[in-house]
C-alpha cells in the first residue's frame, strides 16, 4: 500500500510543479480570420441534420439488424513486411525524427526568442501538433502511438536499465518457462484501482486550461510544461507499468487512440505495443471496436467533447459577455477555469439525463452500462466539430511553421531559405469554409447515429428495444449538432 502513496506523491508533486507558470497573453500567435457561417447555412445544416436522422434511422430499422458485424479490414502492410530490415530502418528513422523534433521544441522553447510567433515550440505544439495532428489522426488513423516521443524515451530508458539488470536478463531467458511479466507490464507497484481513469481527466482539464487561458503561449513555460509532463509520464510508466500508465495516465495516448479509431488505417499492435499490421478499413468503423466499462472514462470522453466545444465558444461574443459579467466576481483565470468545468458538467448532465431516458424507455441494461456503451457514439460529432472549427486555422495559420523551419529559434537564421515566407491568407475562401463546416458537422451527426445504432444492436437482446433506445439518443445528437452549428455561426471576437 505504501508503494501506491510514494508513487502518487512523486506524481502529485511533479504535477503541481506544472502549475507554477507565469501568466502570458495567448494572443500573438495563431490569429483566426474566419467569418462565422451565415444564418442560411446554419438553417440548411440544421434541416439536413433532422432529415438525415430520419433517413439513417429508417435504414437501420430495415437493414442494419441483418448484419451486425460490418467491420471489414484488409491488411495493407503485414507482419512479415514490418519485420523486414528495410521497414525496421524506416521505423527507426521515423522515431529518430520524432525525438529530434521533440528535442528541438524543448531547445527552442528554453533558449529561443520570447516572441511566440518567432518560436518553433509554440507554433509547433499548438498549431501543428494539437490542431494539425488532431485533424490528421481522425482521418488517417492513430499513427501517434508509433511516434509518441514519451514512449520512445521510456523504451530507450528501459532498454538501458534492463541491459544492466541481471534479474531481467535471467527473466528474459526464462520468461516463457516461468511466465515472467513482459516489459510492457513490468512495474514496481500495482496501479491503484481507485484511480481508474481519473489521471487522464486531470491532465486533460489542466491541458485545456493551459490552452484556453493562454499560459502555453510563452515558449519557456510551454517547454517547462512539456518536460514536466514527459517526466511524470515516464515515472508513471516505470512505477505502474508501461501499458497501464499509457491507457490511464498518458492523456494524449488515450485521446489519439479515440480520435484515431475514426481513421481509415488501423495500426494493429501486439501485447508488447509493437506494430504488427497496418490494416485498411472503412473510416468510422474503428469506433465500434472501442469499449469501456468505467464511468471515469465516460467523464473523460465527455470532457473531451465539451472542451473542444468550449474552445469555439470562448472566441464568440457570448463568452465575452460572460467575461464582462463574471470577471468582477471570479477573476479572469477563475472564470476560464469555471468555464472548463461548467461546460463538461452541462454536457455530462445532458448525457446522463438522456441515458436515463433510454433506461426508462428500453430497460434491460442498467444506467451505468448505457452510459458506457453509447459514449463513443458522440465521438464523430466531436471530430466533425474539430474539423469545422480548425480547418481554416491549420490552412492559414499553419503556414507560420514554414519560416520557422528555417529559423526555429527566432535568431534570424535562414537554413532552408524559407525564413522570409509570409502567410498566404487567400489560400482558402470563406464560402468554401462555410460549406465544409456544415457538410462536416452534418456528416459527423450521421456517423454518430450510425455508431449509436450498431452499438445498440450489439447490446440489446431484442431488435425492438435497440430501436426504442435510439430515439432519445438521436434527440441528444440533434441537440449537440445544432449547438456545434450555432457556435460556428456566432460572431467572433479577437482574443
Amino acid at each position: 500500500m505504501k508503494k501506491y502513496f510514494y508513487g502518487l506523491g512523486i506524481l502529485a508533486s511533479l504535477s503541481f510543479g506544472l502549475l507554477n507558470v507565469s501568466k502570458i497573453q495567448a494572443h500573438g500567435f495563431g490569429e483566426r480570420y474566419d467569418l462565422p457561417i451565415p444564418l442560411g447555412f446554419f438553417l440548411i445544416g440544421a434541416s439536413l441534420t433532422i432529415i438525415l436522422s430520419f433517413v439513417v434511422i429508417g435504414f437501420f430499422v430495415n437493414y442494419a439488424h441483418k448484419r451486425r458485424d460490418f467491420v471489414p479490414t484488409r491488411t495493407l502492410v503485414g507482419t512479415h513486411a514490418l519485420q523486414s530490415t528495410s521497414m525496421k530502418i524506416i521505423g527507426a528513422l521515423i522515431k529518430l525524427c520524432a525525438v529530434s523534433i521533440f528535442v528541438l521544441l524543448l531547445a527552442t522553447g528554453l533558449f529561443g526568442s520570447r516572441n511566440p510567433s518567432e518560436n518553433f515550440s509554440v507554433i509547433f505544439v499548438w498549431i501543428i501538433w494539437w490542431v494539425g495532428f488532431g485533424l490528421a489522426i481522425p482521418i488517417i488513423g492513430n499513427f501517434w502511438a508509433s511516434i509518441n516521443p514519451i514512449t520512445i524515451i521510456f523504451d530507450a530508458i528501459y532498454f538501458i536499465l534492463s541491459k544492466n539488470c541481471e534479474l531481467n536478463k535471467r527473466c528474459k531467458g526464462l520468461r516463457h518457462k516461468y511466465n515472467c511479466p513482459k516489459y510492457s507490464e513490468f512495474n514496481f507497484a500495482p496501479y491503484p484501482p481507485v484511480l481508474k481513469y481519473w489521471p487522464i481527466v486531470f491532465w486533460f482539464l489542466l491541458f485545456a486550461w493551459i490552452e484556453n487561458s493562454g499560459y502555453g503561449a510563452s515558449p519557456e513555460d510551454l517547454a517547462r510544461c512539456v518536460i514536466l509532463y514527459t517526466t511524470v509520464s515516464v515515472i508513471g510508466m516505470l512505477i505502474y507499468g508501461r501499458d497501464i500508465w499509457l491507457s490511464r495516465g498518458e492523456v494524449f495516448n488515450v485521446y489519439y487512440n479515440i480520435m484515431g479509431s475514426f481513421g481509415f488505417l488501423e495500426f494493429e499492435r501486439d501485447e508488447h505495443g509493437s506494430l504488427v499490421n497496418i490494416n485498411i478499413r472503412p473510416p468510422i468503423v474503428g469506433l465500434l471496436k472501442l469499449q469501456t466499462g468505467s464511468i471515469s472514462f465516460v467523464v473523460f470522453h465527455i470532457i473531451l467533447l465539451a472542451t473542444i466545444t468550449f474552445d469555439g465558444l470562448s472566441e464568440t461574443f457570448i463568452w465575452y459577455e460572460a467575461i464582462d459579467l463574471f470577471v468582477p466576481v471570479f477573476g479572469l483565470t477563475g472564470l476560464e477555469f469555471l468555464g472548463l468545468i461548467f461546460m463538461p458538467a452541462v454536457f455530462f448532465l445532458a448525457y446522463y439525463m438522456f441515458s436515463w431516458v433510454i433506461y426508462l424507455v428500453a430497460g434491460e441494461m442498467n444506467l451505468n452500462k448505457i452510459l458506457t456503451v453509447f459514449v463513443f457514439a458522440l465521438t464523430p460529432i466531436a471530430i466533425a466539430y474539430h474539423i469545422a472549427h480548425y480547418f481554416s486555422y491549420i490552412v492559414i495559420t499553419g503556414q507560420m511553421i514554414i519560416p520557422l523551419i528555417s529559423d526555429p529559434f527566432g535568431f534570424g537564421w535562414d537554413i532552408f531559405g524559407t525564413a522570409a515566407y509570409t502567410t498566404n491568407i487567400g489560400l482558402i475562401n470563406a464560402k468554401m469554409i462555410w460549406y465544409l463546416s456544415v457538410i462536416t458537422i452534418v456528416l459527423g451527426h450521421v456517423f454518430s447515429i450510425l455508431i449509436s445504432h450498431v452499438k445498440s444492436t450489439g447490446s440489446y437482446s431484442k431488435r425492438s428495444l435497440a430501436t426504442k433506445s435510439q430515439y432519445p439518443m438521436m434527440i441528444l445528437m440533434v441537440f449537440y449538432t445544432a449547438l456545434s452549428l450555432w457556435i460556428i455561426s456566432q460572431p467572433l471576437v479577437e482574443r
Partner: protein, 140 residues
C-alpha cells in the same frame, strides 16, 4: 405515425428553406462595384464605424483620420500606415482574401494607456497595440 413524420419533415424543410432563402437574398449582391471607397475615423479606442465591410476582389480605398499620432495595422493583410493626429491618410488595397481581419493601432506616445492592449507585436519599443476595428471581406 409515418404521416406524422412526413408532416413534421415537410414543415421543417419548408420553414428552413424559406429562412435560408431570405437570409441569402439579404447577402446577395448582383452588381458589385469593383471599386469601393470607405471613410473611417479613429476616435478614442475605436474606429467609427468599427467594421469596414467590403466584398471579395474589390479595389478598396480607406480614407482614415486619427485623433492621435500612431501606426495603423491591418492584420492578415499586414498593411501598416503612419497616421498624424487630425490629418487624413489613405490606404489602398485589393481585397483578395476573405475573412475578418482585426485593425490594430500603435500609439506613438509611449505614455498612452489603453485597456484593450495586447503584446502581439513585440516591436521592441514597448508600444502596445489596441484593436480598434475589423476589416471584413465577405465572399461574393
Amino acid at each position: 405515425m409515418r404521416f406524422g413524420f412526413v408532416k413534421i419533415l415537410s414543415i421543417v424543410i419548408l420553414f428552413n428553406l424559406i429562412m435560408a432563402g431570405c437570409s441569402n437574398s439579404e447577402n446577395h449582391f448582383d452588381n458589385i462595384d469593383s471599386k469601393i471607397e470607405v471613410s473611417v475615423e479613429k476616435v478614442g479606442d475605436k474606429l467609427q464605424p468599427k467594421d469596414i465591410k467590403v466584398k471579395h476582389k474589390q479595389d478598396v480605398t480607406i480614407n482614415i483620420k486619427s485623433d492621435v499620432d500612431g501606426t495603423l495595422h491591418v492584420h492578415g493583410y499586414n498593411l501598416e500606415k503612419d497616421l498624424k493626429s487630425g490629418e487624413k491618410a489613405e490606404i489602398s488595397l485589393v481585397a483578395d482574401a476573405t475573412g475578418r481581419f482585426p485593425i490594430g493601432f500603435h500609439v506613438s506616445d509611449s505614455k498612452s494607456q489603453d485597456n484593450h492592449g495586447h503584446d502581439d507585436d513585440d516591436d521592441g519599443n514597448g508600444h502596445e497595440e489596441m484593436i480598434i476595428g475589423n476589416f471584413i471581406v465577405e465572399p461574393n
